[in-house]
Structures are given as C-alpha cells and as structure tokens.
C-alpha cells in the first residue's frame, strides 16, 4: 500500500471530521437543526450496532456475535455496570464459539 494512498485516506477522513466542528461554529445552527443532528448521530450509532452485530462483509455474521450483543442490550436495560456489560457480551460470544456455534 503506497504512502500516497494512506495520506489520501487520512486527508479525506480528517476533512469529514473537521467539517462539523468548524462549520457548526460559523453557521450558528438553529436549535431545531441542532436537535436533528443529535438525533442523526444516535440513529447512526444504533445502525452501526445493528450492522456490526449482525453482518460480516455482505452476509450474516453467525449467531455467536449477535447473541453477545443481545446480552449487552438486556444487561444495559437492567442497569448493569458498564464493564460487566462489555465483558459478559464478549464472554457470551466467546463461549458460544467454543461450543461450536458459528
């Protein structure tokens, strides 16, 4: 992978990151739009949870991973401490794989 490719990816990524913090300062967005952007971020994060839990490449990720994430969701709703949620999610997936679940 040539250095120029790494630099191009880095520059593009930084542009995506910088646009919001700079422009939102200049534009003085109305409250309604600020709220919508906050909602958009939450929607994107949940979509990221769904796709990274259920899919790998263009297909199904197997049952072990979504099972672990499901455990995380249940523990979150039961107000379990954050470290317990993350560790038990990973452990659930790991144990299921150990048992031969894909």
């Amino acid at each position: 992978m040539p250095l120029i490719a790494v630099l191009a990816l880095a520059a593009g990524t930084y542009a995506f990151r910088l646009a919001g913090p700079v422009l939102r300062h200049r534009l003085r967005l109305p409250g309604r739009l600020r709220h919508l952007l906050s909602v958009a971020a939450t929607v994107l994060l949940i979509a990221l949870v769904a796709t990274s839990a259920l899919t790998e490449g263009h297909g199904f990720a197997g049952w072990a991973r979504p099972a672990g994430v499901l455990v995380a969701g249940i523990l979150t709703l039961r107000r379990a401490p954050f470290p317990l949620i993350v560790v038990l999610a990973a452990a659930t997936t790991a144990v299921l794989r150990l048992l031969g679940v894909p």
Binding site: A47, L48, A53, R97
Partner: protein, 235 residues
C-alpha cells in the same frame, strides 16, 4: 487537563479506560494482521496515526491484502468514514471553542467518543468526556498497533475472545439508556433508530460497506413531525 479529571466522575473514567483496553486488543490484531499479510510494518503504524479509524483501517488493509488496487482501498475507507461528517456536526461543541482545539480534537473524533459525549447534556462534561475518550483511545490504539506490528504474526484470535462483539456492545451500552425514556420525543427517536437500523441491515448484502449505515438516516423522517420543545437535552 487537570480539570478534565475533576469534571468526569470515576465511573465515566473507568468506562473510558475499559473501552481503551478493548480497542487496544483490536488494534494489536490490526497491526499483526497487516504485517503477517505481507505489508511493511510502517503501513499499519502510520495509517493508525494519520487515519485513526479502526473500521476504515481494517477495510483498506483488507482490500490491499486481497489484491485490490490502492485507490479501491482509499475509496472503501472513505465510504466507511463518511459517517464522521454528521458526527462532527452533532458533537462539534464538545471539542472546545479555540481554533486549535477544534483542529486537534477533530482528529480524535470516533464512534466511541461520540457515544460518550451523547450520554451527557452538560457542556463541561461533554467536553471532558470527548477529550478523555479521544486522547485515551488515540494513545492506546496507536501503542497497540505498534506492538501488534512488531509481533508481526497473528498474536491471538480476537474472534475466539469474542472481541468482535465488544464494539457493538460498547456502543449499545452507551446509547440504549437514552432511548428508554417515556416521552413523545424519545418514542420518535426509538422509531427512527429501529427503522434506520432495519434499513441498514437490509441494505448490507447489496451495498459497499459504510453506505448501509448512512442509509439509516432515512429513519430521520419519522422524527421530523415530532415537536422537539426548547429543552434540547440528550436525545
């Protein structure tokens, strides 16, 4: 920096430290996979420092290691990172008011930092959470990539440890509490999230990685007609 530690409670700092640890293990795997696949060690190390986005790094290296053109690797990484644009608008206030905090803070914008910031409505705690998570992840991720690249071979199976479940679990644990309130606005937010996630998963077999997540924004139409009131708190 001193006030940063006083602003955040110990629980939040502990949570951030745990996320840093989990991401470091993935970072070590990234360095090892890139080098064991035949790339020179500087590639994963420089890429991590300059790109600093795990998903895009894995995607770009994956394209190259499977024989794809560098241009395709750049495109795959950029599509994955396009979501950082709306994230920057949503949490841009947390970076600080000075031009140099915006310039440096922007590079530290990640999914995890966004999730920690969205957890709080208080400007000072949003600011502290962003910088603690951003700096913590930047240091731990890059140090781990160096170690992984030095090890140079597959240093353990992250799938066997269930670490691929840790990333969605972390985000879910941070975001889900804001979706459980019983009011009209939160109900609209829940509908937007569920429909957006469904669209993203349904589109995954057909679109390049990264685009399905952006398509989730179609879920926003379900919130547009809901009054939002003046108390713009955590969503």
């Amino acid at each position: 920096m001193h006030s940063l530690w006083r602003t955040l409670d110990r629980g939040t700092l502990r949570d951030i430290a745990l996320v840093c640890l989990a991401d470091a293990m993935v970072g070590a795997a990234f360095g090892a996979i890139a080098v064991s696949g035949g790339l020179p060690a500087w590639v994963p190390v420089v890429m991590s420092l300059l790109v600093f986005a795990g998903g895009a790094q894995f995607a770009a290296v994956g394209v190259v290691l499977s024989g794809g053109a560098p241009l395709a690797a750049v495109a795959a990484g950029l599509v994955l990172n396009a979501r950082l644009l709306p994230f920057g608008f949503a949490v841009g206030d947390a970076l600080g008011d000075r031009w140099w905090t915006r310039l440096t803070g922007a590079h530290l914008l990640t999914d995890e930092a966004v999730a920690f910031v969205l957890r709080d409505a208080d400007p000072r705690r949003r600011h502290a959470a962003f910088w603690a998570c951003g700096l913590g992840l930047f240091i731990s991720w890059n140090a781990a990539v160096v170690l992984g690249a030095l090890a140079g071979r597959d240093i353990g199976d992250t799938a066997a440890l269930g670490l691929d479940a840790a990333f969605p679990a972390v985000l879910l644990a941070l975001v889900l509490p804001s979706l459980t309130e019983r009011n009209v606005r939160t109900a609209a937010l829940r509908r937007a999230c569920v429909s957006g996630a469904a669209v993203a998963v349904a589109a995954t077999p057909f679109l390049p990685a990264g685009l399905p997540v952006l398509l989730a924004l179609t879920g926003l139409v379900l919130t547009v007609r809901t009054p939002y009131g003046s108390e713009v708190s955590c969503p």
